[in-house]
Structure formats: C-alpha cells, structure tokens
C-alpha cells in the first residue's frame, strides 16, 4: 500500500510537472524536433490538474496527516526529476 501511494503520487506529479515545464517555451524548444512550434495550450491546465490529483494516492492510502507530509515531499522530488531531465537535453542552455 505504501509503495502504491508513493509510486502513484510520484508518477502523477512527474507527469504534471513535465506538462507544466513543457508548456514553457524555453523547455518546449529543447525537447524533440519541435523547435519552431509553440507549446499546445492544453499542456498548462493538464499539468496543474495532474499536480493537484497527485495528492490523492498519498492522502487516500496514508491518511490526511501522513499523506499531506508525504505529498509535499513527493512534489519536491518530482520537480527535481523534471529539472534534471530538462537540463540533460542536448539543446539545453
């Protein structure tokens, strides 16, 4: 159960932050081949919703007190992962 809540929360937060990051033009431009297009408009709201939803696995499986603390920590870890992925892209500044 603990594994499920952590892996679930982390995965959803990762996707959320990745979408939020890609909705920013400087990160969108260094990912893949789409150097000239603008990031799609749906990325940003999707990112916010996913980051919000990522609280559910920890809260549901670990309760409000432990779940909230766990969520705060997982958000930081997910954001750090996204930063690491972005800064390791070949075209990254």
């Amino acid at each position: 159960m603990m594994i499920l809540s952590i892996a679930g929360g982390l995965l959803v937060a990762l996707l959320g932050f990745a979408a939020l990051g890609l909705s920013q033009i400087q990160h969108w431009r260094v990912i893949g081949r789409q150097r000239t297009t603008m990031p799609p408009a749906w990325l940003r709201p999707t990112g916010w919703v996913l980051v919000g939803v990522s609280c559910l696995p920890p809260l549901l499986f670990e309760g409000v007190a432990f779940g909230a603390l766990l969520w705060i920590g997982l958000l930081s870890m997910a954001a750090i992962c996204v930063v690491t992925i972005f800064c390791r892209q070949p075209n990254s500044p």
């Binding site: 939020l20 432990f66 958000l75 930081s76 996204v82 930063v83 800064c87 500044p93």
Partner: protein
C-alpha cells in the same frame, strides 16, 4: 550595496529585502548550515548510533517485557536518584537505560533484549547525544540554544524575502543552466533548491520557531499565568522524596497495560523518580511511532502500590503544539517520509551553501580588480562553513572507529576531534584559497571511504556482513557514506575541469 541595475526592478521593498537576504544570508549562513547539517544527520540519529556503537548492532525484536528487563536494569541503576528505560521498538533493537546519581554523574547504557546482557560501554555520545543536541544548542548550552532560536527566525525571514526578491519564480521554475559562467549555475541551484523545497523549508523553519517559544519568550508564561502560577503546571504530577524506604516496584507491564487503556498504545518510555523511596513514582510517556504528533503527555503511578496518581490533560492547545513539535522531530516510524526529510534537509544545506558561494562568485572579479581581499576571506569562511562540518563529521566517525576503547574520556575526545577537524578545515581554506574547494572535496571522498573500511576492519558487522545479517541500520550508514564519497569525488573532478577551463581562458585573455 547599490541598487541592481535592472529596469524592471521596482526598488522599494524588493531592494530592501535584497539587502537583507544578501547580508543576513552571508553572515548567518554558517550558523544555518551547521544547524541544517546536524538536523539532517539527526533524522537518522538512531541509525548512526548503531554505527558508532557496534555492540548495539542487533536485529530488530518484536516486543520486550519491561518486567523481564528489571533484574538487569536494577544492577545499573542501584543508588540512583532517578532512572528511565526506553524499550526497543521497530527502529531501535536495544533497550536504553539512563540513570542520574546524587553526585551529578549520569549513566547511559544499552541492554540486549534477547540475551538480557548489559552491552559494554563504548565511550561515545553517538548521534543521539551529539549531533541531535548540536542541532538546537550547538554543544554550547544556553547561548547555543538562543543562537539556534534566533537562526530559526532569520531562516523564516530569509525564505520569505528570497521568494519576494526572486524575479522569475515561475518562468525559472524548472530551469537549471549548466553553463561556463559558474555563477549562473550557482544561482540556478540556489533558486531551485529554495523554490522546489520551499514547502519543506518553510515548514521546518516555522515549526523550528514555534517549538522554541520558551527560549526567546521566557517571560511569556509569566505573563500568561501571572494571575495563577499554579495553572502553568496544572495536571503535571511531581512530589518530593519522602526520606524513608518504600516498597518494591509494582509490575511495570501492568502499568503499561493500564496506560494502553488510556492512550490506545503501550508506552515504551518508563521513568522511575526517587527509586527505593516511599515517595517513589513511575512516569510513563506514550509511544510516538504511529502518528505525526510528538506527544508531550505523561501518566503517573505510585511505584509501590501502582495507584494512578494522574495524567496530563489533553487540551486543544497541547495537541496543536504536539503536532507542530512532531512535524519537526520526525519521531514517527515511516521510512519513505524519513528519507524525504533527509533529502529535503540536504537540499536545505545545498541552498545555504550555494547562496554563500554566489556571494563570493558575483564579487570575485570586482574585488580582484580593485585589489580588495574581501572575497578571499569570505571564500575561506564559506568553505569552512560548508565543507568544514562534513569533514568534522567524518573526523568524528573515523575517531569513533580508531580510538581505543580504553581512551580516557573517549566520548569527549570524539567531540574534540570533531571541532579540531573543523578548525583544520578553516585553516586549510585560508591557506589554499580557491583550490581548497577541490582539496576538501577529495578529503570528503577519502574520509567516507576510510570510515567504511575502518568499520569493516574494527567490527564484525562491516557493510557486507551487515547486509547479509539484515542489519540495515549500520549498513544504511555505510551505504550513505559510499554515496557521499562518490558525489564528493565527482564534484572534485568537475571542479578540476572548471579550473582548467577558467585558467585557459584567463591565459588567452592575457596573451
């Protein structure tokens, strides 16, 4: 400091806070770093204890009867004014006994709950009696306590001012630019560790302030309870010794069961006040493994009759305080959360170190051009304040594995070595200047390896034996040391490369 030359700077608040953030961050940074570093170590204090006390590296046991331990404990606490016993739980494999005597002496020993043997005194304070109190009193009593309380307030202010002066908090949310201008990368790392870990940093520094109330507002209780001084200790039981011998201690297991009826969980903490006296009583405190709150409640029983003397009232204020206290103290048993606290604490260390480093990097050229010595002095100060505590900690661990057990005052010798290594790091930094970063990074890498090797050499539970025996407490410390060693070596290699590039470009400019 002059106003930043930027057209979008509104001045005013941001400018004022920039001044505060720059100078308070630099001056208080050293204090904040040692507090964050020892706090991060204290997250795993029980595990570091096992590493520094090899005789206590035992498998975790399920549950232990306090009564069964009593015959062993009695030998240790004979003639004491009071003693306490902390039973093993799913984190600590040994029972701990602390006793204080009338001559002011204090004994702390551990008992193997399976063989019922008193484990040999290993002459060390370990993490729980050194790093843990260092986090809030800097090993210097009331002055240290006050300095830490002050540092907590400044940390909250630095977090808030940092958010306000950050120009592009959302635009740079995911941005780390690893570029040739090292200053850019330092500032990005400072911003990232500050922004991405902001919830943790605010939470830990705010709860740090909240639980220190009595240190900086000692008169608050006098004002609050001025009309009725008795009310302050209402519900708290204590009584003096009667001065005549009392009966034998009742079954502690029976008392633990009665406490369970009250709290829903059996207490692991048992304290006896005035043992052997007719006024002797037992204090029990609830276990804290399964909830966030760190309970400050207690229950009292007469030691000879077992009659319940009282229980501290559970009020809303107390529960709120216990919750804030618990968030900061991390006494709950939740391994993923414990690791998250540890990583977040390290992020706090990174935040402070990069902040101080940025001060140096952004002024280096200007100071060199003007022939000022400020940068060189501050750089040595920053090295001593950030890598110094790491080296001092490794000095403590290496001393712990090499000092003979017969050393006079072995525990305080370890603490002396901690501080001497720290001073040596500062002297080296002043002597070597900028190259000290790389030198000391190599020293950290070598020190970690040496600690792991010495552990395998001087104990029969080195890394591989500990893993195969499932002794994850000491194995975890060894593995963390190896990881630190790898990171330090990697940093040293990177620093060397950066220096080569910098000196090459400096040559090409002069040619």
């Amino acid at each position: 400091m002059s106003a930043p030359a930027s057209p979008d700077d509104p001045g005013g608040l941001r400018l004022a806070l920039n001044w505060f953030h720059t100078w308070f961050g630099l001056v208080v940074g050293a204090l904040l770093f040692i507090i964050f570093w020892t706090g991060t170590l204290a997250v795993f204090d029980r595990e570091i204890d096992r590493w520094t006390m090899p005789a206590t590296r035992l498998p975790i046991v399920s549950s232990v009867s306090a009564d069964a331990l009593m015959p062993v404990v009695r030998d240790l606490v004979e003639g004491s004014r009071g003693w306490r016993m902390i039973l093993p739980d799913d984190r600590v494999p040994v029972a701990e006994v602390q006793a204080s005597f009338a001559d002011g002496s204090y004994v702390r020993r551990f008992i193997d709950p399976v063989s019922m043997q008193i484990l040999p005194d290993e002459g060390t304070a370990g993490a729980s009696d050194f790093f843990y109190p260092y986090h809030y009193n800097l090993h210097s009593g009331a002055i240290g306590l006050f300095l830490c309380a002050l540092a907590a307030v400044i940390m909250v202010a630095l977090c808030v001012s940092g958010v306000i002066i950050h120009r592009k908090i959302f635009a740079d949310f995911f941005t780390l630019r690893i570029v040739r201008k090292a200053q850019r990368t330092t500032l990005d790392l400072h911003n990232l560790s500050g922004v991405l870990f902001l919830p943790f940093l605010l939470m830990i520094s705010f709860t740090g302030v909240a639980i220190f109330t009595y240190t900086y507002l000692p008169s608050a209780q006098a004002i609050m309870f001025s009309g009725d001084p008795q009310a302050m200790t209402a519900g708290y039981f204590s009584r003096d010794a009667a001065g005549r011998p009392g009966g034998a201690i009742v079954s502690l297991e029976a008392l633990r069961d009665r406490a369970k009826d009250h709290w829903g969980a059996r207490p692991d903490y048992v304290q006896i006040v005035h043992p052997g006296d007719a006024g002797s009583y037992v204090e029990l405190r609830p276990p804290n493994g399964s909830k966030i709150s760190f309970s400050t409640e207690a229950m009292w029983f007469d030691a000879a009759t077992g009659a319940r003397l009282g229980a501290s009232p559970s009020t809303g204020t107390r529960r709120a305080y216990d919750f804030l206290y618990g968030i900061h103290l991390v006494q709950f048993h939740h391994w993923p959360l414990r690791w998250l606290y540890f990583v977040s604490g390290l992020a706090g260390c990174l935040l402070i170190a990069t902040g101080m480093l940025f001060w140096v990097q952004s002024r280096r050229k200007r100071h060199q051009r003007d022939g000022r010595r400020g940068v060189r002095i501050v750089e040595a100060f920053v090295i001593a304040a950030t890598i110094g505590p790491l080296l001092a900690t490794l000095g403590f661990l290496i001393a712990n594995r090499t000092l003979p057990i017969t050393t006079l005052d072995r525990a305080s010798t370890e603490m002396w070595i901690f501080h001497l290594v720290w001073i040596a790091s500062a002297v080296h930094a002043f002597a070597r200047g900028r190259a000290a970063w790389r030198d000391q990074a190599w020293m950290v890498a070598a020190g970690c390896l040496l600690a792991v090797v010495l552990n395998a050499w001087t104990t029969d539970t080195g890394l591989f034996d500990a893993i195969s025996a499932g002794l994850w407490h000491s194995a975890g410390v060894d593995l963390s040391l190896l990881a630190t060693s790898a990171i330090a070596a990697w940093s040293a290699v990177k620093l060397r490369r950066a220096e080569r590039i910098a000196s090459a470009s400096a040559r090409s400019v002069t040619e």
